[in-house]
Subunit: 313 residues, 2 copies
């Protein structure tokens, strides 16, 4: 293990891959890995990238990687699938993307699923980020599908969150419904050469104008792109840079990173407790309590109390 | 409280509304409400309805409600927003939908957010379902936006899960990526009068053909609809009925409901523990540990151990 960590620290791609596999599989050696990586915490800029299926997340990530490489950054990409124990689609996507950056030792691309990991992706993703930080990445892109709770969780792990939209994929009210207004630091209207792009732009700007913002607070940027043609990528990079400057000029970077650490710690602690719940046996085991709740013999609160009592707290 | 529960049991809409507000706000009286509702558990058929923004979830829910009312069912609708503390969009949606069913005492429509609730929506939604069951609903539609972890959680609360797709909103690989193949009992290809509907239909059927299924296992149905014109709704209702018959003919209904209860119980128990973590003070309080992890002084595993030790376990 120490030599694996040492090699990963030197940027050896195979060692990085093995460490992230350990993270994914919830390996018992993870605390040791985490302890070795801890001193390198906070080096990289972590960028979250989210949006509904079909808005062009993979393509955008791909062109962003290219742009960041051109300015000399070492780049890590984590494509996170919060819902599926399978990674079929993601792996296919990786292969396609890998081709674009094959032979470039300054890019590390990896898709992650949540199988096995104590605390789920909300614990596994920041651990993988730490591995990439330790391996010397300057920027880490965390790409995740969909909109919903998992996105909000993963967005909270990023320094800067990009929300991708595309014209004709749902109107402004839908965007509010999905909670993206709250998590977006930068809106990217991709496929901006399609009909409806101007309307989407106006809707987002209109909603941002309604939001109350104190002095010195960040106003989300809205940029347009056509990632498939490489158009607008410079604007996206500029918006990310502008947000980074704002984070560093205020106390927000520290706040966000402490929030990220708190999420990670509590996910690990709750994961441990959840595992212990599964290990209980006898009438207070979760399946037994659940059967009694399903038939109406017991209510869920009484069952939860019984469960906590059985855990000895 | 006992009279509120009694009135809700008689189907009084205002009392039902107040009880669901208690659920949403995590009211201290909830264990009492849960105990009163427990004997009525398992009466209603719970149908989950999910899909990306813009596929037509609200419209589909609306026409489904109409179809179920026509056959005499009492119907409850929970529009669940898993991501946002705001309910702006959802409330607007409610108003539009309410108009369609105003004056019909056999329909109860409510949007929910997760603010305040111990255990989040994975605890609050089944509790709201219990309130609606107790109030005599025969069918409860739980509508939720997006694809991702929250959807998978909410799908696990339903007897039958409908996944809505629309042509041109992302290809089949995206659907696999989002994990919907695993949670869908019925695929509804809405907006089926649009170009690409046949391709979407074939893609889904093709992927289902690839899936391995033992004898007696459910093969997800694929139906097409144009909800805005009321087309295909009978097919959706028929597919739901077919799945219900399968659930009742096997042991799956009991299994699903026990799984639902287990999810609810563990969410409540973990919510309690999470609240206790927030109450800790001194150097073992989560913010203090998080600050040390953010600077690299401590690793997250060591912090999680310290947190659990502080909780006395």
């Amino acid at each position: 293990m120490p030599s694996l960590v040492a090699k990963a620290r030197e940027g050896d791609a195979r060692s990085v891959a093995r460490l992230i596999s350990l993270v994914e599989n919830g390996d018992p050696a993870l605390p040791e890995v985490a302890a070795a990586m801890a001193p390198h915490a906070g080096r990289a800029q972590v960028i979250g990238l989210t949006g509904a299926p079909g808005v062009g997340k993979s393509t955008t990530t791909n062109v962003l990687v290219r742009a960041l490489r051109e300015r000399g950054d070492r780049v890590g990409v984590l494509a996170v699938d919060p819902s599926s124990p399978f990674t079929g689609g993601a792996i296919l996507g990786d292969r396609i993307r890998m081709q674009d950056h094959s032979g470039d030792s300054g890019v590390y691309i990896r898709s992650m699923s949540s199988r096995g990991q104590l605390g789920g992706l909300s614990a596994a993703t920041p651990q993988a980020v730490r591995v990439l930080e330790g391996a010397g990445c300057d920027v880490i892109l965390v790409e995740t599908v969909g909109v919903g709770q998992a996105e909000v969780e993963i967005a909270s792990l990023a320094d800067t969150t990009l929300v991708l939209l595309a014209p004709g994929m749902g109107d402004a009210i839908q965007a509010v419904k999905a909670g993206v207004l709250e998590i977006a630091d930068v809106f990217v209207i991709n496929k901006a050469d399609r009909p409806g792009a101007d309307a989407t732009y106006r809707d987002i700007q209109g909603m941002l104008a309604l939001g109350e913002r104190g002095p010195g607070e960040w106003r989300p940027q809205v940029v347009r792109s056509v990632a498939a043609k490489g158009e607008g990528v410079d604007d996206v990079v500029a918006a990310i840079g502008k947000h980074r400057d704002w984070l560093e000029g205020t106390d927000k970077l520290r706040e966000r990173r402490e929030h990220r650490a708190a999420t990670e710690i509590s996910a690990l602690a709750l994961g441990t407790l959840r595992a212990r719940m599964g290990d209980l046996s006898g009438g207070t085991a979760l399946p037994d309590l659940a059967a009694r709740v399903a038939t109406g013999e017991l209510d869920p609160y009484a069952a939860a109390s019984a469960l906590l009592a059985a855990l000895g707290r």
